[in-house]
């Protein structure tokens, strides 16, 4: 997908003035509430009209104020998944799923109901009314409905922000699964860096109605670490839990991690803040933290007045955060061996 957009839109005191030139299949738009990301999405979908500018997708002009082109939303083949499912309440699951499919030109109907219902595990729900579905099921139907419209681009406007963590990570796997399976490029909009890192490769950063730059989700997370209240969030996928003495022991990298958070699944995704990792230059004799990892410094980076330390631990990676003074005292350098102490309670179970 290639997207070039130079658009202006005024809403009273707020104005959007964005200049985007990007390519990729997993694009993110990141920004706080009111930064203009949802306006941008609506301009791309055609449900809002720019006051000035142009939008070109894969070489096709969708909007141009100069050339007086404004392709209507139904002809753009850009489907949307919203924050809430917004299913048609008067239609059952099957008719919701097929709403866009029936309106797709036969030559573009490459994705069918059976395969989408299979991937999203909706086969048993097809004849149900949408009000009889759980929140997660409704969001899966909303994803299926958008995918079955066989779009050339899928816009996801904060599709996870109304879901609890457990559901969020389930839906992420469905979203990624369905987009990978059918090779649908997407633009993922969120104010959550964690979601962005899981869903997007390249990220456009929106602030105050302008696109301030393009970077990777990882780079953005590192840059915002120092100023963030939660630091850099390490996402750890761990496997094979063993419960002993009130702690769960998970396999991670080549080693093990002791976690006090209770998980009912054999495997789990956990988050760990960079601020919950304490670094030691020498092996501490005895500490209360249940995890002491021998690591090697891969790289360091500055973020505000903090220093991020990228560590390699048993084949996997962690980012720790220390103040500059500590970095000088510990003489943190690339290739140095350090010890990372992590309390078992510092891990938060996600899914």
């Amino acid at each position: 997908m290639e997207l070039r957009a130079k658009v202006m839109k005024w809403f009273g005191e707020f104005s959007l003035n964005a200049d985007i030139d990007t390519a990729g299949t997993r694009l993110g738009i990141f920004g706080a509430s009111g930064s203009g990301k949802s306006t941008m999405v609506n301009l791309l979908a055609g449900t809002l009209t720019p006051d000035h500018g142009s939008i070109i997708l894969n070489g096709e002009c969708l909007y141009s104020s100069e050339r007086k082109i404004d392709v209507p939303p139904q002809k753009r083949r850009i489907a949307m998944v919203f924050q809430h499912p917004h299913l048609f309440p008067h239609l059952n699951v099957r008719d919701n799923l097929l709403y866009g499919f029936k309106r797709t030109a036969p030559e573009n109907r490459k994705i069918g109901l059976t395969s989408v219902a299979g991937i999203l595990k909706l086969e048993g729900l097809l004849e149900r009314g949408v009000s009889n579905l759980s929140g997660g099921e409704q969001q899966r139907v909303a994803i299926g409905r958008a995918v079955l419209a066989n779009p050339r681009l899928l816009l996801m406007d904060e599709p996870l922000s109304a879901l609890d963590d457990q559901l969020k990570f389930q839906i992420i796997s469905y979203l990624k699964g369905v987009c990978d399976e059918f090779a649908i490029p997407y633009v993922f909009i969120s104010h959550s860096l964690v979601e962005m890192r899981l869903m997007a490769d390249e990220v456009l950063n929106f602030e105050g109605g302008t696109c301030t730059g393009q970077t990777t989700a990882e780079e953005l997370a590192r840059r915002r670490m120092g100023g963030s209240n939660v630091g850099y969030i390490n996402l750890l996928r761990m496997g094979r839990a063993l419960r002993t003495d009130g702690l769960s022991t998970y396999a991670w990298g080549n080693g093990k991690l002791h976690v006090s958070a209770v998980s009912h699944t054999a495997e789990g995704m956990f988050e760990l803040s960079s601020r919950d990792i304490m670094l030691f230059k020498k092996h501490p004799e005895a500490i209360s933290a249940r995890n002491l990892l021998t690591c090697r410094v891969r790289s360091t980076f500055a973020s505000d007045n903090k220093v991020g330390v990228e560590l390699e631990c048993g084949g996997d990676r962690l980012v720790a955060e220390i103040v500059q003074e500590a970095a000088r005292e510990l003489e943190i350098r690339e290739g140095e061996e350090v010890f990372a102490a992590i309390k078992a309670s510092a891990f938060r179970h996600l899914a």
Binding site: G46, T104, S131
Partner: protein
């Protein structure tokens, strides 16, 4: 004894015919104007709103008189219709037009409330899923505005049954041709011996109105249940 004369039966039949015709004729326009007011964003929208609601505040006699000026032989529309061999004034069709104009604001208001309650995200979803605006209107907006359409139609029907002022001006009060229930009651009330006959027609009017309202409640209940 409470009994209806053949002329009374004719007045009842005509009232129902006029009310049904006014409702049927107005419904497409009611939907179109409600859609414009609910979803349109154009200059002069406020003016259109005032024009649609005007019959609600104007005395029906004024509406009747204006319709007479418009549709009469010397009115610009009347002249056109006359040339085409169509005569409306002092026919039951004029009563339909009078009832339609007077009841139109009630119809539009109710349908508009129904349309305003449709979640805009559903419309956005429909459009991005490939539906042009008219497809979205028929596949999403109208099915989800059913309660407003039913409410508006019932109100319009009930208002048409009771229409008097505009009807007497444009359709006259011709028994068997344009005399509806209110006009017949007016006739009886103006006659010294017509008190009982007027009362009987009042009862018929009450029964008809109650039937419409009960039907409205029943349909509204079913729509709410379906939602």
């Amino acid at each position: 004894m409470l009994a209806l004369t053949p002329a009374d039966y004719e007045a009842v039949r005509l009232s129902i015919k006029v009310a049904v015709a006014a409702m049927v004729v107005s419904l497409p326009f009611g939907i179109a104007f409600s859609y414009l007011l609910s979803f349109g964003n154009f200059k002069g929208k406020a003016l259109l709103e005032v024009a649609i609601n005007l019959p609600l505040t104007l005395p029906p006699v004024v509406i009747g008189y204006l319709l007479l000026l418009l549709l009469g032989r010397r009115g610009w529309l009347g002249q056109l219709l006359d040339a085409a061999g169509i005569r409306l004034i002092f026919t039951w069709k004029a009563a339909v037009i009078a009832a339609a104009v007077v009841g139109f604001p009630l119809l539009v208001r109710s349908i508009r409330i129904g349309m305003d309650s449709v979640d805009r995200h559903l419309i956005q979803a429909s459009r991005t899923l490939g539906a042009p605006w008219y497809d979205t209107l028929f596949s999403v907006i109208l099915p989800l505005s059913t309660h407003g359409i039913v409410a508006g139609s019932s109100l319009m029907f009930a208002r048409s049954l009771g229409e008097f002022g505009a009807t007497i001006i444009v359709a006259g009060n011709i028994p068997g041709v344009t005399q509806t229930i209110p006009l017949a009651i007016y006739d009886y009330a103006s006659t010294p011996t017509g008190e009982q006959a007027a009362l009987v027609l009042c009862l018929v009017a009450i029964v008809l109105s109650c039937t419409v309202l009960i039907f409205h409640e029943f349909i509204a209940g079913r729509v709410a249940g379906r939602k």
